[in-house]
Every structure is written in structure tokens, then in C-alpha cells.
Amino acid sequence: MIAPALFAVFAAIAVVSALSVILQRNPVTSALFLVVTFCSLAGIYLVLHAEFIGMVQVIVYAGAIMVLFLFVIMYLNLGRDIETGLQIALRRGVGWLMGFALLAAGVALFRHPWAAGPPAPPGPPVGNTQAIGLLLYSRYLFPFEVTSMLLLVAMVGVVVIARGRRAPGPAADLPPGAATGAEPRGDA
């Protein structure tokens, strides 16, 4: 009895905060509502007995990815950049287009009669983290190892992007500090 009630509460929080993400004008407030959305999703996972996923949701999404978002919003200070009318109009157009596409997809999904699968067997009394481990590191070994490659590529990518565009050649090997003075200042 209590589980459906909790599910409803978490779902309501998730929907309301997700709406607030797009309705807020201040980007930091938007980001904070996204954190709330992720946490209530974690609550929904817990109600559905997916404990590990619920905790990982908080650790990775709310605790790591959103921190990066906040860093970018807070310290990059893009809020006051001047935008031309054309950019705004373009963004509005794309936004409406995507919105309608999503709506159409939703309508199509809900019109289709989906057969309810067999009820899930009651979860084992012991943690499902172990079950995930046993599956992930045997049957899904290949995707797991590919993940490490993906992370490696991301690591290389972020270094390349962070260093910015530099003239090829020995300049890249200069000691740090020597190069910074010569770099063109941004328009900030």
C-alpha cells in the first residue's frame, strides 16, 4: 500500500521539478531543479527495488554531472552575452519543432496497446548489487570492456578541448606559463 503512494509522490516531484527546469529563467535554479528531478528518480528506483541503480543515479548524475553543469553555468558566466534576434528566433523554432516531435512520439507510443509482461519475480532478500555484478562481469563482459575504451576516448577528448586550438609544432611543448602570455585574449 505504501509503495504505490511513495511512487506517486516521487513521480509528482519528478514531473513538477522537470517542468520547473524549463520554466525557470535563472539557469542556476534550473540546474538545481534538475538535481531534484534526478533525486526523485532515484526514489522511484528504490521503490522499484533497484537499489544499486537508485544510488548510482544520485552519485553519478546528481553528484558528478550536475556539479559540472553548475560549474559551467556559475563560473563561465554566459548569461549576459548579447544575442542577436536571429539566434533567438532560430532557437525558438528548433525548440517548437523538437517539442512537437516529442509529442507525436508520445501519442504514438500511448496509442499502441502494449501487452503487460509477466509480473517481475519478487526481488531476492539479499542485495541486487551482487546480481548486477554477476551479470555485468560475465554475460555483459564485452560492453563493460568497451566502456573503458569510451572513458579513455573521453579523457583524451577533454584534454584536447581544454588545451584549445594551438599552432602545431614545438609551441605545444613549451613549459606552461610561457605560452599563456602569447595567447589571444577572448572577447570576455
Binding site: 559540472l68 548489487t129 573503458s148 575504451m149 579513455l152
Partner: protein, 117 residues
């Protein structure tokens, strides 16, 4: 499911306590506002410009690298818990995983991405 009810209760009680104490105190305390008192503190000097300025890209780099290594750590927990059943097989595959990421780590060192000057 039931075991998580106390966690939720703790969350609510902590929020209620903190918000309640702050609200109660801000009702009691005197608020004698004036423009100078409410300006940002800059060691007694009139504040100059906006406090929010762009910061070094290093900090974004740290945040992104944190996400990457955090994901690696998340993969380690189910592995550690299931380690005894997985045996040598599990050990070798995790060693491979860590070695691949270690190559990335060495790359970061070589590119001086972890240097703070």
C-alpha cells in the same frame, strides 16, 4: 523497501530542523538594513565590478575528469561485491579495465593536464 523509510524520515527531519531553525532565528534577529551594510564585503573598500568572472579552464577539466573516474568507481562496487563468485575471470577483466583507464591517466600526466601552477 521498508528499510528505506527511515532514510526518508531522516531527510525530512533534517530539512525541517535546518529550515525551521533558520526561519525562527530570522524572525527574532534585528534587521537594520542600509545600502552600505548590504553591499558585498571587500575589506572595507567599495566593491569593484561584478564578483562573477570567468575562471581558469582547469576547474572544468577537473570536473570532467571527476565524472570519468567516478563512473569507473561505480563499476568497481558491483565487481567487489561479486568478486568471490567471479574468481580469476573477474580479476583479469577488472585488471584490463583499470589498465585501459591507467593508459588514459598516463596520457593526462604526459599532457600536464593535472598540473597546477
Amino acid at each position: 523497501m521498508r528499510e528505506y523509510i527511515p532514510v526518508l524520515l531522516f531527510l525530512l527531519v533534517a530539512f525541517g530542523f535546518a529550515a525551521g531553525t533558520i526561519a525562527l532565528s530570522s524572525i527574532i534577529v534585528p534587521l537594520r538594513r542600509n545600502a552600505v551594510k548590504n553591499s558585498a564585503y571587500e575589506c572595507g573598500v567599495v566593491p569593484m565590478g561584478d564578483a562573477r568572472q570567468r575562471v581558469a579552464i582547469k576547474f572544468y577539466l577537473v570536473a570532467v575528469l571527476f565524472i570519468l573516474f567516478d563512473i569507473e568507481a561505480v563499476f568497481l562496487y558491483p565487481w567487489a561485491v561479486a568478486f568471490r563468485q567471479l574468481g580469476l575471470y573477474g580479476l583479469v577483466e577488472m585488471a584490463l579495465f583499470i589498465v585501459v583507464l591507467f593508459i588514459g591517466y598516463v596520457y593526462l600526466l604526459k599532457k600536464r593536464a593535472l598540473e597546477w601552477e
